[in-house]
Symmetry: C2
Subunit: 453 residues, 2 copies
């Protein structure tokens, strides 16, 4: 059934199915009940909850029990449901339910970043086929409006780069490590105690969550299909206090960034790079001021210049705010006709080879403290076509636990900052450094973002 | 002619009239020509410029001369024009042209804040009547998406407060005064030399420009009609280095803020306060990091919490970016049907009496340096029901030019920070202080925003 056939039946009210009643779902239902009159005014017709699908129907959830069902598919199939709100999570079950809803001519609002990052093409095609809406503002950066602005406000501009702090857990951990001097494991445990990290923190700390968001942001920013699998990904589990101190010496802080970049090669051909890794950010950059569990998305566009969006990136109420904004938009279209712009992928840019991606690097190493070391190390960089920006040498070489590993004064610590170089060249350079007699050990390699050249 | 009748004629392309070819208009035309293919993909049909209305048709503008006309009305009236883009400025002429366009069933994109702030109700009614779109993203904070997010992304939330740095000229001046220690007049002159202030800076430095933006933001945030005349307004012309130093002592900076607030009185009734004034902002607040000619809009909503939008607030290219984003949206609706949400004013909240508005204050004064002065001053505040938060006393009393006005050590400088109090009580208190024998002079009163209680 298409939108036109569908809306004729139900313009006097908008029927909504809520799939899931966890933290976000509960808040969505509460706000719909509490601010019902406002929603009616904003939409032009009342929103009516037809049902709420949950796994465990026996729990008292403080809502009319007749609304609760464990048959999500039957709820989606109800002819009086116009919009389906999915706040369950998971991929396969939600995918089936939402595809079914879209095929039946019902609009979808979802907060499910993993689903959108993996299956946006299939979902968008189903929405196009039925001429209905697929909204997912809550999938990236919680309450911060970023999907809408990318689709609409920036639609007249050419975006060059999007850099996001899009995972609150890792930003909390990195901010806390910076503030307290505690190590990663200790800070992760504290984040767990405070409710900022889940019992299994893998999705956050290994960057999978941020990679989903990078895929979604890249798709919208560059009008090209990018999935989570296309995103290069490193987590924060190897970040040490030495890394943070070395960043501070360079007037930088370390953030887990989702970097989405339009790459224009010398022959003018374009490609998309999407990557997630901990990176040095200058303290003077707007992103450096984003601390704790906050999120921010910083974008650079040809005409607009540099714009940043900042706010709470997670939590029941902020996520519910984004879901409800989408629900108002979807409901308005049910009542008044029209469709939101989809994720237009006309540009169809290829994904750049990660080896071709260029950025700046900080290479930390322990070297042999003798005459000629610096020139030998510099030669290795030069041999790999990498230009050095700055070098800091430091005599004391300590382990992470503070023990001096060099009581005889034979070693030094060297921190080399490069100009922009390709990942391929950098990787080869690091391998050569490992084979150099002057280098005891490359202790860490960190990218630097937020600076040119 | 309604949208339905209109679109049947012209779905294969979207005809656009550009009114005005100043900095912004030139950039809009250039980008439309340069990125035409992208626009076609994003809209679903090509955008075709039907004509460009200018005052002086004799100048070579680097575009097809057959497009140039000095008859804006005739251009608007052309049957093959679907969308009118107004980047002329001024109020009355633009108002007539845009009303005429809307009445003919043509959508409007305007960057004209003064027009929207003064005549939004009339323009919105005409757009509603013809079921077409009225877009004005570029009217507030240049390229920063704020109108779209307020209308759409935040449509499921209850906004409590919007605080904006929405005038680049005044922010540049205040930032420069803070950095250089130069006085207002000197800094204004420098801003003029650098192109950040116009020859007649009145609209900027007296807060008129910011007041227009406050009216627009308040209307959208609180679903209530607010015009520029409803906005309480103070400019920055009286800000001295003493004010800036007194702010620094309190770990604050001074910003010209547009504050839009939902006021809930004790009986539960609501009203809207919109005001523009220089205010102290804590250095720890996100808005304090917004320097130079940048703009930012900070909002607090019931569910979303605190969100900030940051970016360039003016300039040809950023403003063109916002105009073109609106043009894409309006053109999509011409091609695909549907309408953007208007400025829904259902809540219809009254404007709060300025005397009832509450905030915190910094009252700077010169007092007689003798026993009992502090208690007498404190008594004046207490008599007006104003609770004091902190007091700083300082012996040296200098004029702005650095001359000591108190060689005999009879005077002291007193900086009193209050808790939240009403404007009416504060005004009465300041009058009483002026009459107190202990007070030589109240040298300045500054509001403090960005802190509770």
């Amino acid at each position: 059934m298409t939108r036109e056939a569908h809306t004729e039946l139900c313009q006097s009210e908008v029927g909504v199915a809520i799939l899931g009643m966890g933290t976000v779902g509960t808040e969505v239902v509460r706000l719909l009940n509490e601010h019902g009159d406002s929603f009616t005014h904003r939409i032009g017709a009342p929103v009516v909850i037809r049902g709420i699908a949950v796994r465990d129907t026996s729990r008292d959830r403080g809502v009319d029990p007749s609304l609760i069902t464990d048959d999500a598919q039957a709820l989606v199939d109800r002819p009086d449901v116009d919009v389906v709100v999915e706040v369950i999570g998971g991929i396969e079950g939600s995918r089936q339910l939402l595809l079914s809803a879209l095929k039946q001519g019902k609009s979808v609002v979802t907060a499910n970043k993993a689903l959108v990052a993996a299956h946006a093409a299939e979902l968008a095609a189903a929405a196009d086929e039925s001429q209905v809406d697929l909204y997912f503002e809550a999938a990236v950066a919680g309450a911060i409006p970023i999907i809408g602005p990318l689709k609409r406000s920036m639609a007249g501009d050419e975006i060059q780069r999007v850099m996001g702090i899009v995972n609150g857990t890792t930003n909390f951990i990195l901010s806390a490590m910076d503030e307290t001097g505690a190590d990663y494991a200790e800070t992760l445990a504290e984040a767990g105690r405070l409710g900022y990290a889940e019992a299994d923190p893998t999705a956050d700390v290994e960057g999978f969550d941020a990679a989903s968001k990078a895929a979604i942001l890249s798709t919208l920013a560059f009008h090209s299909r990018v999935t989570a699998n296309d995103v290069y990904r490193e987590g924060i589990t190897k970040i040490t206090q030495q890394d943070i101190k070395s960043a501070r010496k360079l007037n930088c802080t370390i953030k887990l960034l989702a970097v989405c970049e339009r790459i224009i090669s010398e022959d003018g051909s374009q490609s998309v790079s999407a990557r997630v890794y901990p990176a040095l950010v200058p303290l003077t950059h707007q992103l450096a001021t984003v601390n704790g569990a906050f999120n921010a998305v910083f974008l650079e566009a040809e005409s607009a210049g540099q714009i940043m969006f900042y706010g709470p990136g997670a939590g029941g109420a902020p996520t519910a705010s984004a879901v409800l904004g989408d629900l108002v938009a979807a409901s308005r279209n049910v009542v008044h006709g029209g469709r939101a712009p989809g994720d237009n992928t006309y540009a169809n840019l290829p994904i750049a080879e990660f080896g071709d991606v260029q950025t700046r690097y900080l290479v930390n190493m322990h070297v042999v403290d003798e005459k000629g070391t610096l020139s030998k190390v510099a030669e290795v960089f030069a041999n790999h076509d990498i230009s050095i920006a700055t070098v800091h040498q430091d005599d004391v070489v300590e382990n992470e636990d503070g023990t001096n590993i060099d009581p005889d004064g034979k070693f030094a610590r060297l921190a080399v900052v490069t100009h922009r170089a390709s990942e391929a060249n950098l990787a080869a350079c690091v391998e050569s450094l490992g084979n150099s007699e002057s280098v005891v050990k490359v202790t860490s390699v960190l990218r630097m973002e937020g600076q040119d050249n």
